[in-house]
């Protein structure tokens, strides 16, 4: 359970030859090795079906839920392999939060209980503790001012953008070390998208963020590092400005020029 940092504090997560196989035949992700730096935003880009979402989901063992998916290789969090058989995925997922494409508030729970859900799971019931955490998480997710007067109304009553920030607040409430975001703005309008992007800039001060996006401008706007995936392989990983302005790989260049979509 100890999260003593033994390795270079710069690197929060790191994968070593990570491969995801479906039905023992189809390789969704092929031997990807890359670091994710502490308090930085790392973006995954690539055409749809390139394995970027599959790779992201392997970072907090979401593939455990699909019997047909198999993961090989290592994914290190603070130097510890999260796929080590002694590691419990339930514990890992608390350290690595996740935000999905569609906002996923629990519709029957109140806004308050949505944010507190992760804490209530581990049996924290004290009202003052919960109150504090809920307020902090909602503030961090830039949602507090909009909902502070109606914390008891159901999570489903918010607008799409608010729902997505609620989902982020819920992930933040358990104080994760890393947050994985799977195209968090793909179902939102431009205004909400801008808000979420600003939020990401704020959040990276506390957590490490990994974001999948199909929007290259978004990757440029929010990320410090960018990884380009193509048919399951990691083609190029560089600081964002380098990757977009001066890519080393031919395929990256072609993709950025819109050769394949």
């Amino acid at each position: 359970m100890s999260s003593e940092k033994q390795t270079n504090p710069e690197i929060r997560m790191e994968t070593l030859g990570l491969t995801v196989t479906y039905n023992k035949t189809v390789q969704g992700v092929k031997g990807v090795s890359m670091p994710m730096y502490n308090n930085k935003v790392t973006a995954f880009i690539g055409p749809s079906g390139c394995g970027k979402t599959t790779f992201l989901r392997s970072l907090n063992r979401m593939h455990d839920l699909l019997p047909e998916a198999e993961v090989e290789g290592k994914a290190l969090l603070d130097g510890e392999d999260i796929y080590d058989p002694r590691i419990d995925p339930v514990v890992i997922r608390r350290k690595i939060g996740m935000v999905f494409q569609k906002p996923t508030p629990f519709p029957t729970r109140s806004i308050y209980d949505n944010v507190a859900a992760g804490l209530q799971l581990v049996g924290i019931k004290k009202k003052d503790v919960l109150d504090g955490v809920v307020e902090r998480a909602l503030r961090d997710a830039a949602l507090w001012d909009e909902v502070k007067d109606r914390l008891r109304s159901p999570g489903g009553s918010l607008s799409g953008g608010q729902q997505q920030r609620l989902s982020i607040a819920r992930a933040l409430a358990v104080e994760p070390e890393v947050i994985l975001m799977d195209e968090p703005t793909s179902s939102l309008d431009p205004m909400s998208t801008t808000k979420i992007e600003e939020l990401i800039q704020e959040l990276k001060k506390q957590v490490t963020i990994v974001i999948v996006t199909h929007n290259m401008q978004q990757a440029q706007r929010v990320s410090d590092y960018t990884a380009f995936f193509y048919v399951g392989e990691l083609v190029e990983f560089s600081p964002t400005s380098v990757l977009f302005n001066n890519p080393t790989e031919e395929r990256t260049k072609e993709y950025l020029q819109g050769a394949f979509s």
């Binding site: 907090n60 979401m62 839920l65 997922r93 996923t104 629990f106 729902q163």
Partner: protein, 327 residues
């Protein structure tokens, strides 16, 4: 079921009278006439039952027949209250007994079991719904009822006589066929419906909801508790109400096992009667007009009760699904 709107809109696109062949009209009229007979049938049911029951309503009054507690064909006094009570007690009792097991099965097959196990259980439960009521009744009469009486009711009753005399009037002296047995068998017979409907409700829970819970570090049961069950709640409630409507009308097994006693108060281990059971047991011997019309009147109330529960169920279903979609 979910694709109704698609069908509608597409059909409306292709309907316009571009293909107005004479054959179309003839065919449409045939279909229309035949299907309106079915519509008429539903209306006829209400009218016929009411018409046949009219002398009873005239003799006793519509409401006093409802609340009258005596049912004595010989004295020509008829009241339907005991049967309504019997029906409600057995149905709600069966619902309570079956709810938890049904939910357990529905959760197990849709979220826990590997696919092949789930398939076997689904087949088995659906098959349970297909077994004719009389066959269940036959098994109940020869095997289940004697077993329950000797193993449970007798010892419990004897214990109560010695140690808790205040329980005696609630329990009643165990008879061969009784309220408790009929309720348990009824629970067994409605379980497949509750399972099928809650299974459907649980299946409609979006994968994202479950994954959101997993991503918070929930254990498997916690995913059920936090994401799956709350989301499926409305569907489950509607399913339970529909199962209740089934229970109200279940006839043969109950008629065979409930012991048929027309007089209140009912006790748990003593005989009782329900609306369908009194119809089945007395209809063939109902020679006096008033007896016959009173049985029809019982049928009329059963009709109203069933319609009522069905309406509430579909209302709940519609209302709760709308709530889900609106935000």
């Amino acid at each position: 079921m979910a694709d109704i709107p698609v069908t509608l809109s597409r059909a409306q696109q292709i309907t316009p009278a571009r293909y107005r062949a004479p054959g179309d009209l003839v065919f449409k009229i045939i279909i229309l006439v035949l299907s309106s007979v079915v519509i008429a049938l539903a209306f006829a049911m209400a009218i016929i039952l009411w018409y046949e029951a009219r002398p009873t309503f005239q003799a006793f009054g519509f409401l006093s027949f409802l609340t009258e507690t005596t049912w004595d064909p010989v004295a020509a006094v008829h009241g339907t209250w005991p049967f309504i009570m019997g029906t409600l007690i057995t149905s709600f009792g069966a619902l309570l007994l079956s709810l938890l097991p049904a939910l357990g099965v529905a959760i197990f097959v849709s979220e826990y079991a590997p696919k092949w196990v789930a398939n076997i259980i689904n087949y088995t439960v659906d098959l349970l719904a297909a077994i004719p009521s009389v066959v269940v009744g036959l098994w109940g009469v020869f095997i289940f009822a004697p077993f329950m009486r000797d193993t449970f009711y007798m010892p419990i009753y004897l214990w109560a006589v010695e140690n808790a005399p205040w329980l005696e009037p609630i329990l009643g002296a165990p008879s061969s066929y009784n309220l408790a047995t009929a309720t348990i068998i009824l629970a067994l017979m409605i379980v497949p419906y509750t399972v099928a409907l809650s299974r459907d409700a649980i299946r409609l829970v979006p994968r994202e909801q479950k994954e959101a819970a997993w991503a918070l570090g929930a254990t498997r049961w916690e995913v059920m508790r936090v994401a799956v069950l709350p989301y499926a709640r409305s569907g489950i409630v509607a399913g339970v109400l529909l199962s209740l409507a089934r229970a109200l009308g279940e006839t043969m097994a109950v008629a065979m096992l409930i012991g048929n006693r027309n007089r209140m108060p009912f006790s748990l281990f003593g005989p009782a009667a329900t609306m369908p059971s009194v119809i089945i047991n007395e209809f063939r011997e109902a020679v006096e007009t008033l007896h016959y019309t009173s049985l029809m009147a019982v049928g009329f109330y059963l009709f109203i009760l069933t319609i009522g529960i069905n309406l509430i169920a579909s209302y709940v279903q519609r209302k709760l699904t709308q709530q889900r979609k609106s935000p």
